[in-house]
Subunit: 483 residues, 2 copies
Amino acid sequence: MTNALFPVILCGGAGSRLWPLSRELHPKPFIRLPDGQSLLQKAFLRAAGLTGTRQVITVTNRDLVFKIEDELNEVNQDNLAISLILEPSARNTAAAIASAALMVARKDPQALLLVLAADHLIENKVAFEEAVNQAKQLAEKGRLVTFGIKPNQPETGYGYIEYQENQVIRFVEKPDLPTAIEFVASERFLWNSGMFCFKAQTVLDELDKYAPEILDAVRETISHSKISQGVTNNNDFFHCELNADDFTRVPEESFDYAVMERTENAAVVPSDIGWSDIGSWQALGAIGQTDGSGNRLDGEVIMHDVHDCYIRSDNRLVGAVGVENLVIIDTPDALLVAHKERSQEVKHLFKQLKTAGHEAHRLHRTVHRPWGTYTVLEERPDFKIKRIVVKPGATLSLQMHHHRSEHWVVVSGMAKVVNGNKEILLAANESTYIPAGQNHRLANPGMIDVVLIEVQTGQYLGEDDIVRIEDVYGRAPIETTNK
Amino acid sequence: MTNALFPVILCGGAGSRLWPLSRELHPKPFIRLPDGQSLLQKAFLRAAGLTGTRQVITVTNRDLVFKIEDELNEVNQDNLAISLILEPSARNTAAAIASAALMVARKDPQALLLVLAADHLIENKVAFEEAVNQAKQLAEKGRLVTFGIKPNQPETGYGYIEYQENQVIRFVEKPDLPTAIEFVASERFLWNSGMFCFKAQTVLDELDKYAPEILDAVRETISHSKISQGVTNNNDFFHCELNADDFTRVPEESFDYAVMERTENAAVVPSDIGWSDIGSWQALGAIGQTDGSGNRLDGEVIMHDVHDCYIRSDNRLVGAVGVENLVIIDTPDALLVAHKERSQEVKHLFKQLKTAGHEAHRLHRTVHRPWGTYTVLEERPDFKIKRIVVKPGATLSLQMHHHRSEHWVVVSGMAKVVNGNKEILLAANESTYIPAGQNHRLANPGMIDVVLIEVQTGQYLGEDDIVRIEDVYGRAPIETTNK
């Protein structure tokens, strides 16, 4: 009998390279490809489709949890068990893998972990499954297996692995261009993909040997963390909310640096699987069909003499004249125009925004909450307009605002509203008014989304003017995010 | 005593070359420059500042009248008389000048007309006034005077005038580049600016001689037109709404072609007045200060290694990386990215949109009405959200919709609302509901703007679902535009 397999999806990222579509709270894994699926959904389905997978573990920032649950539920038609490890802050991959290994080892130390990234694209599914099978065999023998990608160009943004068959000769940091050219020509080097396979016990032993301070700190964190367990479709799952105080003390290190480059048990599976890490707009723009002039278009675009551009727009008309090799990315609150070959440098804009404290680095106009979404349609000093979408069965917190009154107009679905002492049902085309200082609550008791337009008025309209009296999602009485 | 001077501003244009900022119903004269004034306002102030000006006549499309009145009132601090000739359709400049000359001649056939364009920029005001004084002297002697601009580059988009002192030797149509280069080098040619000066009687005589069918048709039109007169600040003004049936029968011809190229009385005033016709985004982008990298920025922009770009954004963040010589124009519903030197070709996009019947060629999200403006904030199949701004003292029509209900939330000012049989006052943070089929009316009895958020719901939300029961602006019971 072969060992059980636990795919572990590492889902994070700064959101900087694919700005303005990606944001700090909407990083790369959530980007949708032309077929409508996000990179995260593709990673999940890839993991779910492997022989022997009975649950998929996702390690992610706790702020992303509602969004991740929405994304995974959307494609989890087989009702696979979904386990979550929620990090209060990013502590790099060694900590993330240690936490997953500890959680799996509690159940089965001999089980195999298959560590995958949520934001990679793998186009050859059959080759991927073959590579995983090879990796499993090596992992069962106690090896720490990394997946090495056969390079097709002298990429200077990746680490390289010198190899012979399944043996790792050495890891090499990001090389300069002449070295990269030499590496690719030699055919003795692979790109280091950041995907791994090993037994839980093996990786814990090696962490104990080469990075004990990380392992100990994560073990300590888990012992103080909130862990819940359940069963779905006869398969166990768990939710582990890592303790924030302990986790901040875990040293930040990459798993490559902490373990792989030091261990004597490293192995590599050369993989020709159509891999891309979608590290830039140029890479994302290389997916999908082009028109006769080499343009890739997603949205409403009119052009005159335009060549080799990637143009993507949510809901506005984009006109282009006499340009080539541009990336044009239009979102409701921010626009990017970049030269295709310079699109990696969009991270500099992201840094500028973050340094300046500009909201556009962190959030989209549409914000995901446990109960649904809200979208700011207009914001002025004395009023704010939101479109609020509440999922069937969901309930917002019982809350009160000191400074703002709210006018609610239901435009779709049936809302249950607590307004002061009254509880009322509001159908489409019905409205209610909530004066400042009055307790209120919004819920969707129906089977379809409630869509509601909220007009806020008042002298202070900040999202932090909220007093939570009761919340089914266990959120703090006062938060900086709304509802 | 010198003859009276009537500046005549021709205000029209297709809105195609400066799309998406210009639209068919928001053409070039309404474009605002970095100092906050529109080209039309600058033309008006230029005309108003001339010695002897007691009223300014504007000839324009009747659909633009509310917008023009708003624009001119904003800068008409001296309360100059403003006369309007409203064209039901565009019939080119010969017809426009004929109508102005006929209107002026009714009062004083010896008065001088100074024909100016609403969308030209003239940077040297002193030189302009000197040129006008020269032109007036020639015009008083019975000459038809055109202003010739000293060329500073071999422009192929303009007509040229060969001249000697004030004599016109010949008019030349748009030349090819080698010819243009030769013209500029010879120093014997001027650009034909489309600005003129002549006595009303002189131009009527010449029209009668060279284009009698135009003059007769315009005379016929005026005899069937609605003309009102008034006095402001001791100066007369008139409003002439040209009869639509008659005016469509006026031959379409340019004044240059109909008269100037044929008359024996032509004269030219060589003018070095800092003139530009702002014929493209490149020309508009050449106005104002650049940053150290040659960029002209208007709006919130972040950049990394960007050179010689013109970036303009109303209210969204624009990020640019590694690009140069681009024009990036961002508006609420449409975006343009064009190579600077190709920016003239934006008219091709405009044509595509017009052919396809796309609203973005015609209207902005914000639409001007006689009572104020409305802005579509969001439009979905089952609801639409508008921000409505009503000017102090203004009243919308008493109206009814068959298919849509409306929820009104006042967020600023004090509104007077007729809702069925009731008349109510609504202050900020108050709301009302108007069911489909119910008569209603909105007015602003106060001293500051009323700002109101309207949420429409219903199965049909087209602007043509409106029955007007009563309207203070004399509008038809049913129109394709709202309110």
